[in-house]
Symmetry: C2
Subunit: 298 residues, 2 copies
Amino acid sequence: MTKLIQCVPNFSEGRNQSVLDGIKKIASGEAGVTLVDFSADESHNRAVATMVGSPEGIERAVIALVQYAAEHIDLTKHTGEHPRMGAVDVIPFVPLKDITMDECVTLSKKVGESIANTLKIPVFLYESSAQRTNRQNLATIRKGQFEGMAEKLQKPEWAPDFGDSAPHPTAGVVAVGARMPLIAFNVNLSTSDIEIANSIAKIVRGSGGGLKYCKAIGVMLEDRDIAQVSMNMVNYSGTPLYRAVELIKAECKRYGVHVVGTELIGLSPAKALIDCAEYYLQLENLDYSKQILENHIL
Amino acid sequence: MTKLIQCVPNFSEGRNQSVLDGIKKIASGEAGVTLVDFSADESHNRAVATMVGSPEGIERAVIALVQYAAEHIDLTKHTGEHPRMGAVDVIPFVPLKDITMDECVTLSKKVGESIANTLKIPVFLYESSAQRTNRQNLATIRKGQFEGMAEKLQKPEWAPDFGDSAPHPTAGVVAVGARMPLIAFNVNLSTSDIEIANSIAKIVRGSGGGLKYCKAIGVMLEDRDIAQVSMNMVNYSGTPLYRAVELIKAECKRYGVHVVGTELIGLSPAKALIDCAEYYLQLENLDYSKQILENHIL
């Protein structure tokens, strides 16, 4: 029973290679932590590190990363397409194995408090760690961006969860919280009519009365001349991937179109796909932690 | 890229707890090796250890295990329901991650040669490691069992691949080889007629003109009063689990019955189930080694 957490800090730096190298070095250098993915985008001027490791290792790595970012990233000089409010913009903790969401919430609060106390960067707790309902959604917290934070933090309803009511002069503020892994999952349709994809997206997503943990939009794949329902599955236990596919198939019938394929973008936990195999194979009584060989080694 | 091998040595001992404890201790004590399962059966008088680890760690553990078994298990005094020919009866090496079948064959030959040279136990190479076609099938090699091996090894066609043409006086002979993981997978039918399960089993299995890497028999589940197609999937890459299910569903139509559920018995590699999700979800271009999160940690 090895507890494993995924942590995906977002940094407001996508251009300075020496700073990116510094981030990668820290993210991969901590004992018990593996850097499984690192991507930087110049136009967004933003980098995302995906680490997996023990709660203790992740905690040490995150605090070292925030300190490094605060020393090397200056938001007063930052430009880029992606909205941002801090040198480290957001730090999600994701339960992966033998650890509960509650334990990830506890860890996020411990790390958040430490960041505020030792690095003097105000912290908002978001998603499952949020202590106020207006802080569950990251976009709501980030509204106003770095430039608007000094004024925003003065408002009583935007007092940080940890730290002073003034942003760090160059590193801004940071959102810290626990959430389920996000899976980017697309369903391709046998039509070049984007309106059909838009209509199905509206039906399948939670905000449209569809599946609670599914966000969806219609997208046109120009090179293949087909329309796609592009989804973010934000809780694959609550809304499994197969359920979105089957619901889309059902709605397709209304338009006389069908599913020609699906796509997984980026990473997925094995369990999100094995849950689908369990459904389609009609597997009875699968004991995921005991019957999947790899779970005995991880 | 961590190479991982599964190794599942079978021991001809299922009753003497002190010997079983000794086996478990060695199987779990080697650096880089995890004992993921251990089961002993009194009536079979046999134990099976499932280890996963690096090729080097597995090599060291196996040689230590064979030495221990040769010192503590005496086949001249062994009785039990399961056929057997050696103190360690069979040692399969199974490729799990970032390692080819060819590399497992090479390792099996290296280990086999070492067992013959240092422990004076004759070795037959079987399954994918077999150097003669009559040695692919373990049951063919084991025919005559321990008591018949002295005579069998004298025949030119049964000269061991490594070691002398005489069994070890108390430890007999051992089969060593590389094979794909074996998955025990059952499909339950909406009928209490065992003849329907038998007929479908005959059609789905390779020996009946069905799926090459599938062995199948009909079985009655008395407590549920339903019939079952009970299968050993001996190469899930060559014959995926979903293909057996879909073929069984097609044959069910002939009898007006349907699949009420399926069962996985024991362990399965994650990929065997993710391959099924890939099929049913119609996933395009899934990159298993890169897109499954856990593969970056293992």
